[in-house]
Symmetry: C2
Subunit: 361 residues, 2 copies
């Protein structure tokens, strides 16, 4: 057990933006809101899965919507707690701990709000080990857990409770309701026991995010070799170094979708890279050859600062180091790939999954 | 107290399609489902508002969506009961009676399903005295009642419970959720006491619908003069007789919207009529002069059969008698007109409301 204070919030936020693989929402607002929470309610307890009893009741707290919208339609910090209230009312009991849905700029911080407000511990785990664009893309879902009931709230106090006949339908209904609710919402869902969380979550996500964030922070202060330390921590494969030449981006159906093209420099002079995204980066190809594909993580770092570049921030002239990071083992099973693989998860019929280590052997 | 049996279902369905002012959903499917309900559970008790205690708990049962979709995405008859279950769970108690939201082909029959299933009485009243396209356009809403919580269900068993910060926002969220739920849904909402129902409902809607339906049925059998009897019952003003020349119709944002043009015959030879609709007929003009406008009812009858022509059924060559019917008194107040009048309710800035009796004096 340890505590998340102001420095930890900053490191987690930065590291989560790396692990978000280009998505996960805007970390800036989340950081401000989470720090305000720590200032108001005190540091937040963080427990490892090992430390919690099997019979604990756990709820997952997450935001949903297009990251593009989040930047302009600012959360008020209360909606995450309101969504939790809806879930508590629906299941008829409170919870012992709160868990994150994914590693993402906004969604790693989102669960801190209801945790702080309720003085509940946060669990050092999540259901993705990265970010994915849909509520049904969770390791818990692959393991057969229903996401229902889903508590939903927006910043004006509109609330929904959703009971969907499949997790994908839960995603569709929430996504569709966000349109009337202004493009992004808070949810509380996937309520589960401590036992289930231990068996089917990705362990240690907050600690990993914090480590990554701390490396980048200390690297900027000249205290360590950022590239080497990140390599050790993430076991990434370097895919490309280049300058962004073109970005196509559109907000449709509650997602930010698009395509980014880069031209190589240094060792990659004369080569070009194409990265496709739907909130998150999904497929990275160099000279037409696939180099990293979902569910493995594609991360773009600014070559100077090592700050991650999210799909929101892509713009002409950015100089990027692009790396591929092996995903959590749960995603590399046939059941996992059916949900988040390139063909069945994201509709790229011509792209088969292969581990990033093999594609860059 | 009396009972609704198979003949009453047919008469109510036909009369409600008249009172729906062109909207209210397809009556054919509703009739089949309501008759099946009567066959399964027995006749449905119908109580006047006079007959119910002030402390009774009443729920309103209604469908929501584009009538165009309802014709193709057939309800299974269970969703109305499921929506009621969501509402019962949310408020923590059952109900003593069920009430209709509006007079409409589908929405007059919709409440019969949960009433029959639960052996609850139906109340001879509604919140419109006609049909309107939105969930917030109810006399109860004008009187300050919240529509929340709103129980929602679709034919696949997806369920929502909505708590909106305004009734209009409740409409927007449900309408937006219908997109993921296939275009139409069942809801249960506006829970109220017997006292509130007596003070703020439109009384006797089922009896009026049944009377209108019976007149048309007996008229077709040659047993009475349909025009004269309908005139006596509805106190309508004849606006036009003509042939439909053109229909523009589109399904957008969960509504069926459009414009219908007619060329006059008999006394109206040489004149033309234009009728604008959003599910319901909203504005009828003859030679550019407004003759009837929402909230007064615009009804089109087939000149041969006296069957009402809904906005769904409008097509080139139909021969129609168009009449205007005075609306319930609640709508003629400034508060009522703010919700369902032409300017504030439906965005026709150039059209001011005037009672159909004055426009056709």
């Amino acid at each position: 057990m340890r505590y998340i204070g102001l420095q930890e919030v900053e490191d987690i936020s930065l590291g989560a933006a790396v692990m978000a693989s280009g998505g996960g929402g805007n970390p800036y607002l989340g950081t401000l809101i989470a720090k305000e929470c720590v200032n108001t309610y005190g540091p937040i307890q963080l427990l490892t899965l090992d430390e919690i009893p099997d019979d604990w009741k756990i709820a997952v707290s997450m935001g949903l919507g297009a990251p593009s919208v989040l930047v302009e339609k600012v959360p008020n910090g209360r909606e995450a707690g309101w969504a939790m209230e809806v879930l508590e009312h629906a299941v008829g009991h409170g919870f012992d701990a709160v868990m994150a849905s994914e590693a993402g700029g906004w969604n790693s911080l989102h669960p801190m709000l209801p945790a702080a407000e309720r003085h509940l511990p946060l669990i050092d785990a999540d259901g993705m080990g990265r970010a994915f664009p849909q509520l049904d893309m969770e390791t818990w879902s692959v393991a057969g857990l229903s996401c229902n009931p889903i508590g939903v709230a927006d910043e004006r106090g509109n609330k929904l409770c959703v009971y969907s006949h499949t997790n994908k339908m839960g995603e569709d209904i929430c996504r569709s309701a966000t349109v009337a609710m202004g493009g992004n919402i808070s949810t509380a869902c996937y309520h589960m026991t401590g036992r289930f969380a231990k068996d089917h979550s990705v362990w240690g996500t907050y600690t990993l995010c914090e480590t990554v964030g701390r490396i980048i922070r200390l690297g900027r202060a000249g205290e360590l070799d950022t590239y080497a330390e990140l390599q050790k921590t993430l076991r990434f494969k370097e895919l490309f170094r280049g300058k962004i030449q073109d970005v196509e981006r559109r907000t449709e159906g509650g997602f930010t979708r698009g395509l980014c093209q880069l031209e190589g420099f240094e060792d990659y002079e004369g080569s070009s890279m194409e990265v496709r995204f739907q909130n998150e980066y999904l497929v990275a190809s160099v000279n037409g050859q696939v180099k990293c594909v979902t569910p493995d993580l594609i991360v773009m770092f600014d070559t100077e600062s090592f700050y991650p570049i999210t799909s929101e921030q892509l713009k002409y002239g950015c100089r990027a180091l692009v790396v591929g990071v092996p995903c959590a083992q749960q995603w590399r099973t046939p059941e996992g790939l059916a949900v988040v693989g390139p063909e069945l998860g994201f509709g790229y019929p011509d792209i088969a999954y292969a581990p990033v280590e093999e594609l860059n052997a």
